[in-house]
Assembly symmetry: C2
Homo-oligomer: 173 residues x 2
């Protein structure tokens, strides 16, 4: 079913997707799709989350600062691309229960945990996963969804640096 | 049109809303709605953003710490309520161009700016609006959308306190 959606989307564009079209491509009846997913938006949400799954563990650059900055820049690049935004949008829009959105966050948390475990193995001081989610992943995601146009690689690097520096948070001094 | 949506939603529930039903209540033809909004999701996004508009400036508690903590707790309470989540969801889902999501963020930025201006007027040190969005609003919104169940008033207060304390960010010491 996921393959049918991906193929049709590539061939015809997302706006043309319909349940009968997807059913025909997947060689099932439309009612099979309605029974399992309820409607098109829920199916698209499931497909989107699958595409947001990381392909492997993040790269090892030898120290936490480099690991975290590089990961943040690459994650931002992926999520804020046209495709990334469309998947995020589908993931959230078709998911009133929060399961698919929760999975998106779990993917980020797993990647961050790999970096932090690696730092611990090197004896480097490191924040915990929740702190990285709150002060690095959350600001990036908030801007992607709510403030497009206000982010770039330097912004992502700056968040990562301030986080590891113990966090000057811009308080006027 | 917005009133027609609100009335029908209250009477029948959100799942029952259709363009023909809304058109009949608003005494227009369905094609009027399709011409202006394209589809139901876009209309619901516009209605949702209107409902997320703050009712007035945030309360003055005499100092920035109290102002910011109180605002964060109240904002979280509103946005994470069942109604708040539904509006946020509608605002984002029906808005591929980012205009309505941008408006949600602009509402928060305006409220925060009022608190920070007030602090400046009292001679208190204060972070800038972007920092408050990144390290207070963004983590709350990220949890509302992606990690429901992991937030409460204490969590919101803790973010506000750490932000004003110049930000211990959880770095292991």
């Amino acid at each position: 079913m996921h393959r049918a959606v991906r193929e049709l989307e590539a061939e015809r564009g997302r706006a043309e997707l319909t349940v009968p079209l997807i059913a025909a491509r997947a060689e099932v009846t439309p009612s099979t799709i309605y029974r399992r997913w309820g409607d098109l938006q829920v199916l698209l949400s499931d497909v989107a989350v699958e595409r947001l799954r990381p392909e492997g563990p993040p790269a090892d650059h030898g120290n936490l600062a480099a690991d975290l900055e590089t990961w943040a820049v690459e994650w931002l690049e992926e999520m804020s691309s046209a495709a990334g935004r469309a998947y995020l949008h589908d993931a959230v829009a078709g998911d009133r229960e929060g399961g698919n959105a929760g999975q998106c966050s779990a993917y980020a948390a797993e990647q961050v945990a790999v970096l932090l475990d690696r730092a611990a193995g090197r004896g480097e001081p490191a924040p915990d996963v929740e702190t990285v989610l709150d002060h690095l992943v959350a600001p990036l995601m908030y801007r992607i969804l709510f403030r497009p146009g206000l982010l770039d690689a330097d912004y992502a690097r700056g968040l990562a640096r301030r986080l590891l520096a113990g966090g000057t948070t811009g308080l006027a001094e």
